[in-house]
Amino acid sequence: MQNELSGPRFEKQIERRDFLGLAAVWTFFGTIIAAIIGALKLPMPSVFPETDSRFPIGRPEEFPVGEAIHLSSRQLWVFSEENGIAAVSMVCTHLGCLVKRQDNDEFICPCHGAKFDSAGKVLSGPPPRGLAWLEITLGPDGRLIVDSEREVSAETRFKI
């Protein structure tokens, strides 16, 4: 189609009518995409239903030196030794099943057979890393507090 503006210099220029039409189309898609993005914000949780990641596990004297205590509701093993106290999470780092401590102090995950040594290091199986050692602090009321979201490096023991 020829018009008075055609020619090498004006080739790229689009007509006002076309420009407005295209702008309308893009505005339509922009609106729809913005609406979808807005709606999809809703399923992303900002508040989590779980209880606080910090929880008290008891007074230090409840964990006498040389004992390993299983806190099944907290999914923890607490090891108390000469050089300090440590909390190891039982949540398998593979897919979130709970490992079980064997008689030889190793941990085995029932779901895919992962094996960890007594310090939580991976011996065999699919987990990407060892069991999580968690931070222990002393609360103001004299109870030990574990934070399940604060991981410390393996074999870290806390002197209380």
Binding site: P45, E50, S72, L95, C111
Partner: protein, 518 residues
Amino acid sequence: MSYNATRQFFRNIRNLFRNFRESAIRHGRPTSDRARTQTVVQNFFLHIHPARTHTHTLKWSTTMGLGIMTTVLFLILAVTGILLMFYYKPSVETAYDSIKDIHYVVPTGRIIRNVHRLSAQGMVVLMILHMARVFYTGAYKSPREFNWVVGMLLLIITLGLSFTGYLLPWDQLAYWGVTIGSGIAGSPRDLTDALGITQYFDPGGLVREIMLGAHMVGQEALIRFYTLHVIVLPIALVVVLGVHFWRIRKDGGLARPVSADPPVFAEGVGPEDAPTKSFGLMAVVRERTPATDKEIENTVPSWPRVFRLEAILTMVALLIVVGLSLFIDAPLEEQAADPPVPLNPAKASWYFLALQELVSYSAFGGGMVIPGIIIVSLLLIPFLDREEDDVGIWFGGRQGRRITVLSVAYAVVVCVGVLAFTINFGWLRNWLPELTQKHVRATQIVIMLFNPGMVFVVASAIWSLGLLRLTNSTRMASVGLLTCALVFFIILTYFAAVHRGPNWVFYWSQADWPVIEH
């Protein structure tokens, strides 16, 4: 005679039923081809069918009724699912008890629940068989490539429905099955962890949070899975299924071989031999009337033959699922979900067991990378194999049958060999314990990319490329590839179902399982 409203009124009463029928159905009885056509075209519920159907489509060997049966099972699932919704309560306190009520108290509840569960399993089986049928008859080829892609979408939605339905009974099996499943969804974190970028970019954690609405499987996850299961995914399935059916019509009906439409002209006489004047054709055409520019119609009116077949398939499907549901109870663990005590072994539904076996080597490698490769390869098949000679022929003829058998043998040897190897010798960590302890991140990336599942993928690819070179046919290469994939899927499913016991350890049979105290 003048118009008498009173008399007309009584006449209307007398003709009430006839007038009502004629207002609803505007055509006569289907005694002529024209009326049969109208029966299909003018009926809202039937008009998704073509007015006429090719005779090849109606043959048992063309489709074996697999697609129709899958659809019938979906309809059964929709009806029984709505019935179950009358009693099911999606909350962690009441879900398990309400399933127990449905099973033991609600009139016919047990049968309805069994039918729902068996239809779901049957739908997955038939869908896989339907996919195999479409593949082996070459029905994914041009112009039907896009409908193969739509079918893949249906496969994913159906598996999503199965997975979300698995959680709803809220028993131990459901809880741990979905814990593992959501772990797989979050497994990209293994990769980001190994690369040390999780704190900046964490797609695994994000997907898992959106899926569960929390960090653990709980009330939020239950209500999300319920919403997906009863509304979101069924609506998605119906829409995509509509597209799937619509495309069958737009793509020219079901795929059929060239031989299904025999030429109009007598043997040895082609149109190029015929005189150019039309009267000359009368001597050539093997029909009672001369038809120019027109092939013989190999179609019959869809009414009643198509509908008779569909009715038969519906009855067969109903008979099988209702019959089986009288004897096979849907499982319900004796315990409601008990987060501190994992089930041992915690197995997923059977169609996810192959995946679970792969995941037992690496969560991200087996649960994401390999399924991703399989889905992408399946999607690409119709675009990479565009040979159209043997469309509509099972296995593409004799050569294809032989290659299918060879591929089965090859895949069985590879799969059983690799499994036997891993049982006896373990995998990377067992060989180099010191080294893998020292380089945890590097080990993880290596295991992610180099695990038994990847061996299967590479073995299939090599086999397929070998066939490509040997037979000089992309069709044969794709037959080899899909056959390998199907065999691996079947063997891994069987292996995980039968030979994996507590702690995912290999046992020859369940009788050898040790007793586990919780």
